[in-house]
C-alpha cells in the first residue's frame, strides 16, 4: 500500500464576488502518495490553480471548507505560524510564469537563500551560500557563483524557472506542487524542465502534484491523472488506464481535441463553448451537460457522483455511458439508413 502524503476531502474553495461566495473548487477529494506524480488537467479557468493555492494555503481571502490532510494533519485553517513551518520545508511550489515569480530587486542567491534561512536558523551565512550554489548546480544552472549575484532580469525564462525550482526544493520538500511549470517556456526548454522535475522526484521520493493542460506532459510524467471541469473532478484514474479508456465526455473531448498522428482522424473534435465564469457556473446536475446538448437530458444524473468503474478509476455522472460525439452519431445514422 502506497504511503499517503496528502489527502484532500470534500474541499470547497470559494471566492467572494460582490456579496456572494462562488466555489472555484467544489467538493474535490483526492490523494497524493509518496513518490507519485498526480497530474491535474483541465481547461483554463477550471480551478486548477485555485486547488493548488488551497493546498499551499496561498489564498488570503477565500473561504475554504473541507479537509486537507498533510500526513494526517489537517492544514485547513491552521495558524499562520504553523503553516509557515510547513511551507517551504515540507511543501514547495513552482509557478506558471517564471518571469514574474522572482523578486526583481533581490539577487538570485538571496532569494533561494531565503528558503534556507527561514527553516534553518543555525545555518551560517557561508554554509547557506554553499548550499545555494549546490542547488544551482543541481537544477543545471551554469556558472552558479556568477548567477548567485545576478538579478532576475539578467536571466532567461528557462533559467529563472530553474531558480524557482531550486527555491522550491531547497529544503527537500516531500510534496511539490507544480502549477503549469512549463506553459510559459518554449518547447526545448519545456522538456529540460520536465526532465529536471522527474530527476528530482526520483532523488527525493517526493509526491508531486503536476498541473497542466498538456496531455503530452501527462503521458510523460504522471502516474495518476485527475481531470477537472468547472471546479469538480470529473474523472480520476491511473495514467495508462485513462489513456486507454477515457470515459467522461469531457475527458474524451480533451483527448479528441489533440491532433493524433498514429490514428486516422476525420477531423478534430472541438469542444463547444468555453468554461463559464465563476458566477455563471451551473451548480446543479451535470456541469458539462450544457456543452454536450445533443445528449439526452435523461442521461445525466440529478446529483452526479463519482462512480468507481474499475478499481482506482472514478467517473462523475452516468452520462458517460450514453455519450457519443456528434460525428459518430451522424455516422451511425448513415449506417442505419443503408441497412
Amino acid at each position: 500500500m502506497a504511503e499517503k502524503l496528502l489527502e484532500i476531502k470534500n474541499l470547497k474553495t470559494s471566492f467572494r464576488i460582490k456579496d456572494d461566495y462562488f466555489a472555484a473548487v467544489d467538493d474535490v477529494s483526492l490523494n497524493v502518495n509518496k513518490n507519485e506524480v498526480l497530474a491535474i488537467v483541465g481547461e483554463s479557468g477550471c480551478g486548477k490553480s485555485a486547488l493548488a493555492f488551497s493546498i499551499m494555503g496561498l489564498h488570503t481571502r477565500a473561504k475554504m471548507e473541507g479537509d486537507i490532510l498533510y500526513k494526517g494533519e489537517n492544514i485547513v485553517g491552521i495558524s499562520p505560524s504553523k503553516l509557515n513551518k510547513l511551507r517551504g520545508k515540507h511543501m514547495g511550489m513552482i509557478f506558471q510564469d517564471p518571469l514574474t515569480a522572482l523578486n526583481p530587486l533581490m539577487i538570485i542567491g538571496d532569494q533561494i537563500g531565503e528558503a534556507l534561512l527561514l527553516h534553518n536558523k543555525e545555518m551560517s551565512k557561508t554554509q547557506r551560500k554553499e548550499k545555494v550554489i549546490d542547488l544551482l548546480n543541481k537544477v543545471g544552472i551554469p556558472r552558479p557563483e556568477y548567477v548567485y549575484e545576478q538579478f532576475p532580469h539578467e536571466l532567461s525564462g528557462g533559467m529563472r524557472q530553474r531558480v524557482v525550482i531550486a527555491t522550491a526544493i531547497a529544503n527537500e520538500p516531500e510534496l511539490l506542487i507544480a502549477d503549469e511549470p512549463t506553459t510559459a517556456l518554449d518547447v526545448t526548454i519545456q522538456s529540460q524542465i520536465l526532465d529536471l522535475i522527474k530527476d528530482l522526484k526520483d532523488d527525493m521520493n517526493s509526491g508531486i502534484v503536476l498541473i497542466t493542460h498538456d496531455l503530452g506532459v501527462v503521458a510523460e510524467m504522471a502516474d495518476r491523472v485527475a481531470v477537472m471541469y468547472a471546479g469538480e473532478i470529473v474523472e480520476i484514474a491511473e495514467v495508462t488506464e485513462l489513456f486507454e479508456e477515457p470515459l467522461h465526455p469531457y475527458t474524451r473531448s480533451l483527448f479528441n481535441s489533440v491532433p493524433n498522428a498514429s490514428e486516422e482522424q476525420d477531423r478534430l473534435h472541438v469542444i463547444q463553448g468555453i468554461v463559464p465564469s465563476l458566477q455563471n457556473l451551473p451548480r446543479t446536475g451535470c456541469r458539462f451537460a450544457p456543452r454536450i446538448p445533443w445528449i439526452d437530458e435523461s442521461a445525466h444524473e440529478a446529483h452526479p457522483e463519482l462512480h468507481e468503474v474499475k478499481p482506482g478509476h472514478f467517473v462523475r455522472c452516468t452520462c458517460y455511458k450514453h455519450f457519443r460525439f456528434p460525428e459518430e452519431v451522424g455516422k451511425e445514422e448513415e449506417h442505419h439508413g443503408v441497412s
Partner: protein
C-alpha cells in the same frame, strides 16, 4: 553608475537651453513692459523711449537673449525696475525661504502619505482603508487655495496658534536659536496646509502599488517559502512598491512649485511664488524671467534626483 549619472546630467544641457529660450520668448510676448505702466504725465514719452533704447528693448532678440543668458551664468539676473535693486539680491532670501518651505512640505507629505498608503494598501477594503481613501478623495476634490484659506482662518486667526504672515518674527537676530525656531514656526502652517492637501496623490499611488504588488507571483513564492506575513511585507512588498514613489519624487517637486505659488500668496510668506505673482502684475520683466527660470531649473533637478534615486535602488535601471 557614474557613466549613467554623467550621461543623465549631460542631457540637462539641452533641457536648460530650451527652458531658457522658452521663458525668454514668453516674457517678450507679455504685453507692455515695466515702463508702460508709468502713467505719470510729468514724464516725457520721449524720455521713456530713451530709457527703452538704453535698456536694449529694441535690440535684435538673439542679442537680448545672449546678454540675458550671459548674465544669468554669472548669477546676474539684471535689475528689478520696481524694487530698484539687483534681482539676485531680491531673490536671495526668498529662495532660501521657498527652499525650506518645500523641504518641510515634502517631509510632511511623506510622513503622512507613506504610513497611510501602506496601511490602506495592506488592509485594503477594510474600514481603515475606506477612511484613508475617503480622506484622499476629499483631498483630491478640495482646491488647495480654499483649503489653505480655511486653515489660515481657523489656526491663524481664530485659534491664533500660528502666525498669519511673514517668514520670521521681525527684529530677530539672524543665526540665533530663537530666529531659527521662529522661521520654523512660520513655515509650519503653510507647509502643513499644502502637505495635507497634496498627499492624496502619493497615498493613492502607494495604495494601488501595494495592492498590485501583493498579488504578484513573487509574493506567492515568498509565502510558499514559508515567509511570515511581516517578512513578506518588509522584504518583498514595500521595497517594490516604494520604488515608483521614488520615481515620483521629481513630479512631486513640480507640483510643489505650483502649490507654493498659491500658498505663499495666501500666507503672505515671502518666497519665490509670492515674488512671481507680484512681479507679473507689476510687469517686472527681469524678476519674472528669473523666478520662472529658477522654478524650471528646480523641476529639471527634481527629475534628475528621481532618476538617480531610481538607478540606485532599481537594479533593472542600473546601467554599467
Amino acid at each position: 553608475m557614474w557613466k549613467f549619472s554623467v550621461r543623465r546630467i549631460l542631457i540637462m544641457i539641452p533641457q536648460l537651453f530650451v527652458l531658457s529660450l522658452l521663458i525668454f520668448v514668453l516674457a517678450k510676448m507679455m504685453p507692455g513692459d515695466a515702463l508702460s505702466g508709468q502713467i505719470d504725465p510729468n514724464i516725457d514719452p520721449a524720455r521713456i523711449e530713451e530709457l527703452r533704447i538704453e535698456m536694449g528693448w529694441y535690440d535684435p532678440w538673439h542679442e537680448q537673449y545672449a546678454r540675458w543668458v550671459g548674465g544669468v551664468m554669472q548669477g546676474d539676473f539684471g535689475m528689478s525696475f520696481r524694487f530698484k535693486m539687483p534681482v539676485t539680491e531680491l531673490i536671495g532670501q526668498r529662495i532660501v525661504n521657498s527652499f525650506w518651505l518645500s523641504v518641510a512640505t515634502l517631509i510632511l507629505t511623506y510622513l503622512i502619505a507613506i504610513p497611510l498608503g501602506i496601511t490602506s494598501g495592506r488592509y485594503n477594503d477594510t474600514f481603515r482603508d475606506q477612511l484613508i481613501t475617503g480622506y484622499s478623495y476629499v483631498g483630491f476634490a478640495t482646491p488647495l487655495f480654499i483649503f489653505a484659506l480655511v486653515m489660515l482662518w481657523v489656526f491663524g486667526f481664530q485659534l491664533q496658534w500660528f502666525p498669519t504672515s511673514g517668514s520670521v518674527e521681525p527684529g530677530m537676530e539672524p543665526g540665533t536659536f530663537d530666529y531659527f525656531m521662529s522661521k520654523f514656526y512660520h513655515l509650519l502652517l503653510p507647509a502643513l496646509s499644502m502637505a495635507l492637501i497634496t498627499t492624496f496623490n502619493t497615498i493613492l499611488y502607494l495604495r494601488n502599488e501595494i495592492i498590485d504588488t501583493k498579488q504578484k507571483d513573487f509574493i506567492l513564492l515568498a509565502r510558499s517559502k514559508g515567509a511570515s506575513e511581516s517578512r513578506v511585507y518588509n522584504q518583498h512588498i514595500f521595497r517594490n512598491s516604494l520604488l515608483p514613489i521614488a520615481a515620483f519624487f521629481g513630479f512631486e517637486i513640480t507640483g510643489l512649485i505650483g502649490g507654493s505659488i498659491f500658498i505663499e500668496n495666501i500666507f503672505g510668506y515671502p518666497g519665490m511664488g509670492q515674488l512671481l505673482i507680484e512681479s507679473i502684475s507689476l510687469r517686472d520683466f527681469s524678476v519674472v524671467t528669473a523666478t520662472t527660470l529658477l522654478f524650471g531649473i528646480a523641476s529639471i533637478l527634481g527629475a534628475l534626483i528621481s532618476d538617480i534615486i531610481l538607478s540606485l535602488v532599481d537594479p533593472r535601471i542600473r546601467i554599467k
